[in-house]
Symmetry: C2
Subunit: 208 residues, 2 copies
């Protein structure tokens, strides 16, 4: 930390620009997002953007990393309360796109999928993200499994990935068709799918 001139929180500025990029991406789409838009949204100039990022791809990559970071932070908060409240499905429902803010996160998340297909670095980020969220959920479910509350014959990992798949699948529909998927319906279908695999022999009803 022995830098000489003009102290600036380098990391903070990068994050700030990445956040601006997220807002722009949500507004106009990933490929229509221009660096000048990002700069304006972040209340800086393109000079600042290029100063902090080597290329446009780097900006996009940072934006995805920021999105992932936020989602994982959210999950961490949820995880902490899951076992205590004994309401796993209720906690999981907080990931669904039930309000405009959550829908925005989902939209941006989707925007990256198309790129991740052809961009190796984004694909790696995507992979790492799912690996991490799957790992965490598997750990939580292992505790349930030890209590005999998972379907016999299913591994905790399979159940965790099944849960993730359900949330992703519902997230897609609800994000694109919010009027067909009011929060109540999202939660209803979530319960329909998850009650059978998350509240088996041993324990009582997990929710409702």
């Amino acid at each position: 930390m022995t830098i000489m001139p003009k102290q600036v929180d380098h990391d903070f500025r990068r994050r700030s620009i990445a956040s601006a990029a997220i807002r722009v991406i949500d507004a106009v789409g990933l490929d229509a997002a221009r660096l000048t838009d990002v700069a304006r949204e972040g209340e800086v100039t393109t000079g600042a953007v290029t100063h902090y990022f080597a290329s446009k791809d780097a900006v996009i990559e940072a934006a995805l990393a920021e999105v992932v970071r936020r989602i994982l932070d959210g999950q961490a908060a949820v995880d902490d309360n899951v076992l205590a409240a004994d309401d796993l499905i209720g906690a999981l429902s907080s990931f669904l796109p039930v309000d405009e803010e959550a829908r925005r996160d989902w939209r941006v998340w989707f925007a990256f999928w198309g790129r991740a297909i052809v961009n190796e670095r984004l694909r790696a980020l995507h992979r790492d993200y799912y690996a991490e969220i799957s790992r965490r959920l598997t750990r939580t479910l292992t505790i349930l499994q030890d209590a005999g509350r998972l379907p016999p014959g299913a591994t905790a990992a399979d159940v965790a990935d099944a849960v993730i798949a359900v949330i992703d699948g519902l997230g897609v529909r609800a994000t694109f068709e919010p009027d067909l998927w009011p929060p109540a319906r999202q939660v209803r279908v979530l319960h329909l799918l998850l009650i059978p695999i998350l509240s088996n022999p041993g324990g009582g009803e997990t929710a409702r």
Copy 2:
């Protein structure tokens, strides 16, 4: 059909170019796909492309329409065999990205999601597609419901959309992480999630 010069199957050429666009989109991504690439892939020139489509957006839209058409054709074939074979889940597994060809369809399908967020016409196509597939599946499930084989208290529409969500969710993971999701695992998790809601009181095990 009283056209004078040079008879050409207009519709066939459009589809041919749309198919070329699909291949290009899979190879390089939606936004990196150039019209010259599409032309080369379709073994025509850009002149032909612009002759058949008013703009690049029109080409992309036609490509999405072609993808949707293919998927729906696939579903129609499946639907016909579902009730006869009494193996709904087995039939549904044919939608999963279990081989490279299916993964390609899924990849291209994902590529459009990012655009559908900000492009009204693509969003409408996306919506219509899901409406149609949901409608068909609901119809099939209504028959099962009448036979008392759906969970009591669940509507056929909810079960249908739950099934679609599961397939979408598994599709995402398996497409991006094929090595973590060999076909056997996809099918296993599909059964884990669907057996409880598709083979309830009345009938026997639906698959396995």
